[in-house]
C-alpha cells in the first residue's frame, strides 16, 4: 500500500496536533513518567527493525536490524516497567505513621 507524500504529511500534522492537545493539559507532577512513557512509545522503531532483522537480505542489514531490535526492546521493557514503578509511588494519603 503506497500512500504517497501528502496523506502521510496529513497524518503527521494531525498526530502532532493530537499530541500537543493531549499533553498540554498534563499535570507537571507527571512530567517524568510522561517522559519515560514516550520513551517507551518511541521504541515503536521496533516495527521497522523487526522487518529488517527478519528478512536478513544482507549480512549487514541483519546485523544492523538485530542491534536495532535489541535497543528498542530495552526501551520497551525498561520504559513501561519504570513508568509503572514511578506511578505506584504517587500516593495521596499517608501510607505509614512515623
Amino acid at each position: 500500500m503506497q500512500s504517497g507524500l501528502l496523506p502521510l504529511l496529513y497524518i503527521f500534522l494531525l498526530a502532532t496536533f493530537v499530541g500537543l492537545e493531549v499533553i498540554r493539559r498534563m499535570s507537571p507532577l507527571l512530567h517524568t513518567p510522561l517522559m519515560s512513557l514516550t520513551n517507551a512509545i518511541s521504541a515503536i522503531a521496533v516495527v521497522g527493525s523487526i522487518v529488517i532483522a527478519g528478512k536478513q537480505e544482507t549480512t549487514l542489514s541483519a546485523v544492523l536490524g538485530t542491534i536495532a531490535v535489541t535497543a528498542s526492546m530495552i526501551n520497551i521493557v525498561g520504559g513501561y516497567l519504570i513508568t509503572y514503578r514511578m506511578l505506584r509511588m504517587f500516593k495521596k494519603r499517608e501510607p505509614k505513621q512515623p
Partner: protein, 378 residues
C-alpha cells in the same frame, strides 16, 4: 494473515498510544495509561511479526525469527535492570534510553539505505536523511547527556571561541551531504560521512551544556528521538510509526517549551546553542533574605502555621529527599501545614522533583505547581 488485518492492528495500536498519553495526564488514571501503552506496543509487535509470515513460509520459521528472538531476550535482560534503578538515577537512565531509541532509528535508516540504494526516490531519500541525521545526533548527544548526568564527564559547561560556528558548520555540512544524496542517492561514499558528521555534531551540542540546563536538553532529545522514528515512518510508508513518532515529538517539544518558559529563556535561544549561557533579565524585586542556624530554623518552623518548602537542584544532587521527608513528618506532627512548591525545572529532568518526593512517600497533594504556589506566597 492478510495485510489489511495487520493495518487494522496498527491502527488499534496508534489509538492505544493516544489514549495512553491522555490517561497519563492525571494521577488517578495514569496507571491505566501505562497498561494501554503496553497493549498498543504488543499489538504493534504482534502485527509486525505476522508481517513476516510470507518470509517464514519461504525460508523456514526458525531462520526468519532467530535473530529477532535473540534480540528480544537480550533486550529484556538489559531492560529489566534499567527499570529497577533508584529514582535519583532516572535522569541518566532516561538519557541512556533516548540514546538506544535514537540508535535503533539510525541503524534501521542505515540498513534501509544500503538495501535500497540506488533505487531511492527523492522523497524517500529525504526522509531517510532526516531519520539518520536526527537519529545519530540524538544518539551521541544522549550518550553525552548520560555521561554528564552520571558524572563520568565534567558537568560544568565547556565553552570555547567560535563554538557556535563550529557546531553549526558540522550540522550544515551533514545536511548538505544529505541534500546531495537526495539528488544522487547512488553516491554511497558520502553516506558514512553524513552519518559521522551527525554523530560528531551530537557530541559537540552537549559539550557547552551545564548540569542545571539538563532538563531542557533531555526534553529536546526526547523530541528528536520521536521525530527520528517519525521520519522512519515516512521511509517505510508506515502510519503507525508516524503517529507514535509525532506524539513523542510533540510531547518533547511541549516539555522543552515549558522548561524554557520557566527559566525565562526563549525557545530559539535554546535551539541555537544558547545552552549554558546565563541570561539576566526581568525585573528583580528587592527583598531581604534571612538566614538562620539549624537551631533557630527549628524554632521558626515549629512556630509557623504553614511552611512552603521550595526544593531545588541541591536536594536532588545531595539525594536529601528522605531527610526532607523527616522534616515534613516532624512539622506535620506539630500541626504545621507543610507544602512543597515545585519549580518546573527543579531537579535534573522535567518533573524529577515530584518523583523524588513521591519516592520519599510525601503525599502528592502536598506538591504545588509554581503558579499556584506564587498565589499562596506572601
Amino acid at each position: 494473515m492478510s495485510e489489511h488485518a495487520i493495518h487494522i492492528l496498527y491502527m488499534a495500536s496508534a489509538a492505544c498510544f493516544i489514549l495512553a498519553l491522555k490517561w497519563l495526564s492525571a494521577v488517578p488514571t495514569a496507571r491505566r495509561g501505562v497498561i494501554t501503552g503496553i497493549v498498543g506496543m504488543l499489538l504493534a509487535v504482534g502485527g509486525t511479526l505476522m508481517l513476516l509470515t510470507p518470509e517464514a513460509q519461504a525460508h523456514g520459521w526458525f531462520h526468519t525469527y532467530r535473530w529477532i528472538l535473540v534480540a528480544f531476550v537480550v533486550g529484556a535482560v538489559i531492560g529489566v535492570p534499567m527499570a529497577m534503578m533508584p529514582m535519583t538515577a532516572v535522569p541518566q537512565r532516561t538519557a541512556l534510553s533516548h540514546a538506544f531509541g535514537a540508535l535503533a532509528a539510525g541503524l534501521v535508516g542505515a540498513a534501509e539505505y544500503y538495501l535500497r540504494t540506488p533505487n531511492l526516490g527523492r522523497f524517500t531519500m529525504g526522509a531517510l536523511g532526516v531519520e539518520i541525521i536526527l537519529g545519530f545526533l540524538t544518539f551521541t548527544a544522549s550518550l553525552m547527556a548520560f555521561g554528564k548526568l552520571q558524572e563520568i564527564l565534567p558537568t560544568r559547561p565547556i565553552v570555547y571561541k567560535m563554538q557556535n560556528v563550529v557546531n553549526l558548520s558540522a550540522f550544515t555540512a551533514s545536511v548538505l551531504i544529505g541534500a546531495w544524496l537526495v539528488m544522487h542517492p547512488g553516491h554511497t561514499v558520502l553516506f558514512p560521512i553524513m552519518s559521522l558528521l551527525a554523530l560528531i555534531f551530537g557530541v559537540m551540542l552537549i559539550i557547552p551544556i551545564g548540569g542545571a540546563d539538563m532538563p531542557t536538553v533531555i526534553a529536546l532529545l526526547n523530541s528528536y528521538a520521536g521525530l527520528s522514528a517519525c521520519a522512519m515512518g515516512f521511509v517505510l510508508d508506515n502510519k503507525l510509526l508516524i503517529v507514535a513518532g509525532a506524539l513523542d515529538g510533540s510531547s518533547g517539544l511541549i516539555l522543552s517549551i515549558i522548561m524554557c518558559k520557566a527559566m525565562n529563556r526563549s525557545f530559539t535561544n535554546v535551539l541555537f546553542g544558547g545552552f549554558g549561557q546565563v541570561q539576566i533579565g526581568g525585573k528583580a524585586e528587592q527583598r531581604t533574605v534571612r538566614s538562620a542556624s539549624p537551631e533557630e530554623a527549628v524554632a521558626f518552623l515549629e512556630a509557623a502555621n504553614s511552611v512552603m518548602v521550595v526544593p531545588g537542584y541541591g536536594m536532588a544532587v545531595a539525594q536529601a529527599q528522605h531527610r526532607v521527608r523527616d522534616l515534613f513528618d516532624h512539622l506535620t506532627a506539630h500541626g504545621v501545614d507543610v507544602k512543597f512548591a515545585i519549580h518546573p525545572v527543579a531537579g535534573r529532568m522535567p518533573g524529577h522533583m515530584n518523583v523524588l518526593l513521591a519516592e520519599a512517600e510525601i503525599p502528592y497533594d502536598k506538591l504545588v505547581e509554581m503558579e499556584d504556589a506564587n498565589v499562596e506566597m506572601p
